[in-house]
Symmetry: C2
Subunit: 201 residues, 2 copies
């Protein structure tokens, strides 16, 4: 597809793709090298080690995403449906779940952004940090559970059609209260009971 790139860049692209698909541990150096159409030694020559390659991918993805700044975390600007961006998303989300620094950086950025957004609204929230964090992971979940969503919707959510269904659903989900005040009260007492109760270790 894109073989008019530097070998180094090809390796990076292949690594991002396979890391995103199978995880860092799941993707082998040899597979990455083969996909980039180079020897596995060249990979080592350019990036030193597998972790070096991971770091390079993280850094590149982070920069790339920074260029596109708002488009990543913002909800209503996801309309620019680009395969490249989707791949970046998958890679970074995978990195985030694998606990890599780049992933944590992205998540921290999402938290910060969420807090700014929350401050601009007049929502009643008792624990800002927790609220924003929960909201952030929920936003991400549509991507982390990509395979599950595709199965549930009976179609690849990478395609615009299913993607749209997901966005539509999340929109409706966030624009109306899902539980009634009575149910909320009931849940509240349950939570209070939990919080007050001693932990049985």
């Amino acid at each position: 597809m894109s073989s008019d790139l530097t070998a180094r860049a090809r390796i990076r692209d292949a690594a991002i793709e396979l890391f995103a698909e199978r995880g860092v541990d799941g993707a082998t150096i040899r597979d990455i090298a083969q996909q980039a159409d180079v020897s596995s030694g060249l990979l080592r020559h350019h990036f030193g080690s597998k972790e070096g390659l991971r770091d390079a991918c993280d850094e590149w993805a982070l920069n790339e995403v920074t260029k596109l700044s708002g488009r990543f975390t913002e909800f209503n600007t996801l309309d620019g449906f680009d395969t490249r961006i989707a791949l970046l998303q998958r890679y970074l989300i995978r990195s985030t779940m694998d606990g890599s620094p780049a992933g944590q950086a992205i998540f921290d950025r999402m938290l910060e952004y969420g807090e700014q957004w929350l401050a601009s609204t007049d929502l009643k929230v008792s624990d800002t940090r927790a609220f924003v964090a929960v909201l952030a992971v929920m936003k991400m979940s549509m991507f982390t559970m990509r395979d599950l969503m595709s199965r549930a919707l009976d179609g690849d959510v990478t395609e615009p059609k299913q993607w749209g269904r997901m966005l539509q659903a999340s929109l409706e989900l966030f624009s109306q209260p899902l539980i009634t005040p009575e149910q909320a009260l009931q849940a509240q007492t349950a939570i209070d009971r939990l919080t007050a109760g001693k932990d049985k270790s």
Copy 2:
């Protein structure tokens, strides 16, 4: 801790714990055997292969969770904060993300349960399936992103305190609309634009 069990049961328990923690690929047979205090050969003797062990764990976890039926998927009955249940949750969620049949079964159950719940409310939803699916993955996300949440909340979310903060946040999140009708309308047009647009393949 619990060494008065059959060796077979000890192996199963150890496998579930390590599978939940490191994933099926991440946990080695030898580690599981060591944690169960048996030889790695015995594991093979009882379960045939690693996949056999995985299947056995899936089946056991599925049965176990069926016994406790509602407690797993239901929102406001999570107050029975039990370490065993928490472990089961982690294992099944991990299985779900790894694409195992047991995980898919659990997810399907959540979808079915969600559709029943949705029918009992008077929420306005354009795409039932998508709505329920998105809601399901969002509910799960608090557990799948456990490490991330712990970092954001600056404390292990397995502990009742942080757990309570999470539940509280999700409660507040679901009991009020997060975006205003104007914002919803704006997002709606964005989604429509996406859905109508041709995919540039």
